[in-house]
Subunit: 326 residues, 3 copies
């Protein structure tokens, strides 16, 4: 039986990227490589429970200029499952408040010999900017409403895990599409892998122009529901909205909440997903969230697997090529 280090000590030729900035620029082959690697990591670590110290001595830095609990901890745990060290930077209490430029802050952190910088910022494009300025790898952990690639990957991994190949599946993203980086990353990833994607929500949150990305636009959940293999219920991000996009939460729930009544009219094996944190009673009712079709907590676990795969692909194999050892 091969040791884990041997098992993973290969160099995937398909992976040549230094950063993971978005899913828009990745090929289907690259997406599959990350997903396959995540599946292998999950299997090799008893479901991301045990350690696989392939990256001992490496350092991952979390640079979160926006609050986050789950994503930050997920990256941190993924890194430590691989034996890497982690450092945490937060905007408050950092030198940003002393007038330092964003790039200088990042370069200073890099100069502490960080291998992977995980960046979250409310301004779209910040991870891309840092990717140009830094020599280390950059992972976008959410840049405003633009992309959140590891969230898209973990959603897709969860669909594959429960329903097999993505190609031909109909996946609806329901809710606050306008402010959702999760929606964008899902759309790019799912489309490249051959899914039919529907974005569905109130007209104030779902523009017709989404059709330009090759997705179907719908305004009535009940109309599209019977066709859907997967529903991904996006949280209404009240904190990103300047105006109220619908008259009341009650009205939103009436039209778009996934509840037991709607479940009865859905496909028998419909998969219910949500990136979380969920607002119970808004986009999803408790019976559905806790029901047999829900894979919301599986998504969280798969987040570890996807992040282990991403961090390893970004800093593992390339280094292996350089040093010839593992």
């Amino acid at each position: 039986m091969p040791t884990p280090a041997t098992e993973f000590g290969y160099v995937p030729d398909a992976w040549t990227e230094r950063h993971l900035l978005d899913l828009e620029r990745l090929s289907a082959e690259q997406l599959r490589l990350i997903l396959d690697t995540a599946v292998r990591f999950k299997a090799a670590t008893d479901g991301c429970r045990t350690k696989l110290p392939l990256l001992a001595g490496r350092t991952l830095a979390n640079l979160f200029f926006e609050n986050s609990t789950r994503t930050r901890n997920s990256f941190s745990l993924a890194a430590r499952r691989l034996g890497a060290d982690t450092v945490e930077f937060t905007a408050s209490g950092s030198s940003v408040s002393k007038g330092e430029s964003l790039i200088d802050t990042a370069k200073t952190i890099e100069a502490m010999n960080v291998d992977v910088a995980v960046v979250r910022h409310h301004t779209p494009g910040v991870p891309h900017l840092l990717g140009q300025a830094l020599r280390c790898s950059v992972v976008n952990a959410g840049d405003g409403p633009h992309e959140h690639p590891t969230q898209g990957l973990l959603d897709i991994m969860t669909i594959r895990e429960h329903r097999g190949e993505i190609s031909g599946k109909t996946v609806a993203l329901v809710g606050d599409i306008a402010h959702s980086r999760t929606a964008r990353s899902n759309i790019w990833g799912l489309k490249k892998l051959g899914a039919h994607v529907i974005v569905c929500g109130p007209a104030t949150l779902v523009s017709r122009r989404w059709e330009e990305l090759g997705v179907e636009v719908a305004y009535h959940l009940d109309e599209i529901l019977p066709r859907c293999d997967v529903l991904n219920l996006l949280r209404i991000q009240f904190e990103r909205q300047y105006t109220r996009p619908f008259p009341s939460v009650r009205e939103y729930a009436l039209l778009y909440a996934m509840n037991g009544k709607r479940m009865a009219r859905a496909k028998e094996n419909i998969l219910i997903m949500a990136p979380g944190p969920i607002n119970r009673g808004v986009e999803i009712t408790p019976d559905v969230a806790d029901g047999p079709h829900s894979v919301i907590l599986n998504q969280v676990t798969n987040g570890l697997a996807v992040r282990m795969a991403v961090v390893w692909l970004l800093c593992g194999p390339r280094q292996l090529q350089t040093t010839g050892q593992f």
Copy 2:
């Protein structure tokens, strides 16, 4: 000489609990098992200085919905002394502020494959609620004024360490009994192990109804002092009080502060304890806090030992039964 892993690689039959939620429900036998394990861990690690990596690959999560420095760090260090990883969650900056329910937050953290969740919350019963909702182990690190079981255990361990068996000892808890989870955990633990417990403080902070728990209620420290083997001086928790329970700090100190004058009238080998942080000049004067009878800092070190024992009992031996290896 046995390796530590061998030395601790036994399955204590007496321990079948999945959680440590309070001392009220533990038997004397279970209390002694934790205390004995803590003593063995302390001895095996040069007083909790060296590592004993029995729990490599396990993860402890600190879920503190109330501020804490010492307890959080004590659990974190205890886990790392055992080779486990730790993740930190704080209420501020977490998804709680995005409208997520407490149980969903906890389940999400659990889905990152956390083995032990250490919970502090200002509402009594929250750890118990999470213990029902989660499959991982839950340790109560303080739930409002209810219980703080590891504090009770470390206090009792410190008494045993310095004065031998608990049975027959007279232990007085002095001060802010009404708001003190430390008092409740001490009372349950000490009573089960055969101590005589006195609660002593101003009538506004010490109700006659404490007698229902089988403890003696006293309002004058000077009257009970000559009988006490141990004084545990509880901090006046100004931050938990809505009204002022006594006219002035000076009056409180006059009646209840342990000072040199009172030490002269106490038993020759009286043990002075305080859960800390201490308010010098309020419940204790500096000469007593820093004097030869004070074991306040020993309590802190024993906190590591007790938490190592608890974390290991909760996730170590049971896992050992499952996997058959260590």
Copy 3:
């Protein structure tokens, strides 16, 4: 080839200090010992990239009563490169806000078996006070405007690395001397190693009385510039000033900013340093900060090396003498 543990398993006789509180009290020999050890650590760890687990089982605690990102993370990473554990204490959310005395807070942390306490506080002398009260080692990570010894050491290490011996070099510290602990630590360290030190800035920030420390005082950068081997450009610390020390940032930059025009009149191999975070356009222009003479990011990396050396000297060799093993 010797293993790292063997290579570093010697006892430097010159090092007998328990704390690193300031550079004022260190001898030239002690300074060189730290610097030489830092150079060896940097070489042995591929530029502070790989681990050298000489201090496995030891614990470093960061006690920061002032905000800090880079210094705190630098100490934390240095400790983990050496295999030590780290714990983080911050003033907010700690028991300091419950009325605990500073020394009691520190003693409580020490009682968790911390080996090295790294202390930052806005009051000068706090690390010295704690050094007297604690049995563990204390490192001053900045005490108000007094000293910041590891910053001085990393600056000096960077000069040595790029320009050889310190003796005979002319080093100018430019800017906000009055509020700068970096200036004080640089002055003590550089003078002991034989450099000529100039402090230069507006008269409101540079007193004539600095001459008492044996340094040259200058008020016009352009006058001293041709003589300087090294410029260390100190940040204007707006957050430490109660009054405005100069009419405008623009006027300050006009007189003291290092820019391309001034570079043309400087020595050909002048070294440009800044402790960071830098204010681009204030004390330094972007072309100089990012130019070939700038070693600002090298300083950050050398910070890891110096802190590894300091932490190891404080707790490594002495322990080795006690236990006779490594």
